[in-house]
């Protein structure tokens, strides 16, 4: 079984390479489907495989650049990417992230900030979970009301309509975002991206987990466009991140390439799955991904408070994260297979 282990030339450790491909495949599927990089899921996975943490972030970002590029192009062909919105948001994201990172360093100088950061993270994830599931409940209630009235609910109807209030802000310049179907003040996407970038900078994460729901609930993007446009942002930050981390000597290129072999295929599967799964299906699955992330962070917090259960909680957090990755990847893959089988059957029936 020695052939299943490969020497990482820079890190100097032997790694179970099929594990890297499986991890890349799973994260590719999830990333292509939700439009996020998923560093919070990959890092524990790399850790389990015995990957040195000094290289984990750089290697993750390098493979992310490759998979998000192909996913963005595929989402673009499906009409899911609003490039204009993406370019506008880059300004706010970069400035916000920079401010967040500087603020984090300032807070670190004041004292131990880890607990505060984790608590902010928990509060944010609780809020996102509540937002997603209350939106789903409200839409279901609208659906039931429409059925009771003998009507059919408009397919563009949504549960939470905060974006309608935000669209009433008419500070010039106003922009038409044609792909997303939005007409709003240009300051709105800049402000939203600044806010999400700032939070991501403080929390030390890529930001896809926050940006995707913000695009839906604050800007009013259709779910598929939010996924595609968020991937565009991930692609830009991934390419920049790959360059900067590699230049600092923190990328294990061999591992990134092996992961990319799985991730590029997985990203295509995840992206094509969005073709068959409705917007609210994506929102519900995303809600469960956020719950997985939330539980893992709560376990880590408990481990920090009670030293006697620390190792148990850390192991539990890793199991939760990898369990979430596996479960979601399988569900998305099955959704894609089911949809593709129906499409092929319909084509054959029509021929």
């Amino acid at each position: 079984m020695d052939w299943m282990y490969m020497l990482m030339p820079i890190a100097g450790v032997k790694i179970f390479w099929p594990g890297l491909i499986i991890l890349g495949l799973g994260m590719g599927i999830i990333g292509g489907f939700f439009g996020m990089g998923g560093a919070w899921m990959i890092t524990p996975g790399l850790n389990i495989l015995g990957f040195p943490m000094a290289f984990a972030v750089g290697t993750d970002i390098a493979h992310m650049a490759g998979k998000s590029l192909i996913s963005t192009l595929r989402h673009g062909k499906f009409g899911n990417v609003d490039y204009k919105l993406g370019f506008i948001m880059i300004i706010g994201t970069v400035v916000g992230m920079e401010l967040g990172a500087q603020m984090l360093m300032w807070l670190e100088r004041l004292g131990n900030i880890d607990l505060v950061v984790r608590l902010i993270y928990v509060a944010l994830l609780v809020f996102i979970t509540w937002m997603v599931f209350s939106d789903v409940q409200k839409r279901k209630a609208k659906d039931r009301a429409a059925l009771a009235a003998g009507k059919e609910l408009d397919k563009h109807a949504v549960g939470l309509e905060w974006h309608k209030t935000l669209h009433k802000i008419k500070i010039p310049p106003m922009v038409h975002l044609n792909v997303a179907g939005i007409y709003c003040s240009m300051w709105l996407p800049i402000f939203v991206s600044f806010l999400t970038g700032w939070l991501a900078g403080i929390l030390g994460i890529g930001g896809g987990l926050i940006r995707m729901p913000s695009l839906i609930y604050l800007l009013g993007c259709p779910t598929h466009v939010a996924v595609g446009t968020d991937l565009f942002e991930v692609m830009i930050s991934g390419l920049y991140g790959a360059a900067t981390f590699t230049y600092k000597g923190r990328t294990e290129l061999v591992a990134a390439i092996i992961m990319l072999c799985g991730a590029a295929i997985g990203a295509q599967i995840g992206t094509v799955a969005t073709k068959y799964i409705k917007g609210y299906g994506i929102r519900i699955a995303f809600g469960w991904a956020v719950i997985g992330c939330l539980v893992s962070i709560i376990l880590k917090l408990i481990g920090g408070w009670i030293p006697s259960v620390k190792s148990l909680c850390n192991d539990g957090a890793t199991v939760v994260v990898l369990g979430t990755v596996t479960a979601l990847a399988v569900v998305i893959f099955l959704g894609m297979v089911k949809g593709a089988a129906k499409e092929i059957a319909d084509k054959k029936a029509a021929a």
Binding site: G66, R74, T223, L239, A263, K275, G279
Partner: protein, 97 residues
């Protein structure tokens, strides 16, 4: 003229923002120098490791070119397989919010 003004304002703003990120990324780097042990390596792995030890810049250029090219190639191969199966990759029919 309006477009020109927009470009004139947007470009410096984007550059300033990117410079800020570059500085932030540079400030957070660890001073530890990592050297690859090339003694047991042969072939392409040995070449990569030597490149890493000799010049991080050249290694970065290789990475930045290799990763997108490999991602695109594998993605396009997956596309070919999916098209052969009979999946229409040109449009998305689901039009729900």
């Amino acid at each position: 003229m309006r477009k020109l003004w927009k470009t004139l304002v947007a470009l410096p703003a984007a550059l300033l923002a990117l410079c800020g990120t570059a500085l932030a990324a540079g400030g957070g780097a660890s001073p530890v120098v990592i050297v690859s042990d090339t003694r047991d390596l042969t072939g392409i792995l040995a070449w990569w490791s030597h490149l890493y030890n000799e010049s991080h810049l050249q290694f970065t250029i290789l990475t930045v070119i290799l990763i997108p090219v490999l991602g695109m190639t594998l993605g396009l191969l997956t596309d070919l397989v999916m098209k052969n199966i009979g999946i229409d990759l040109s449009k998305r029919d689901v039009a729900e919010h």
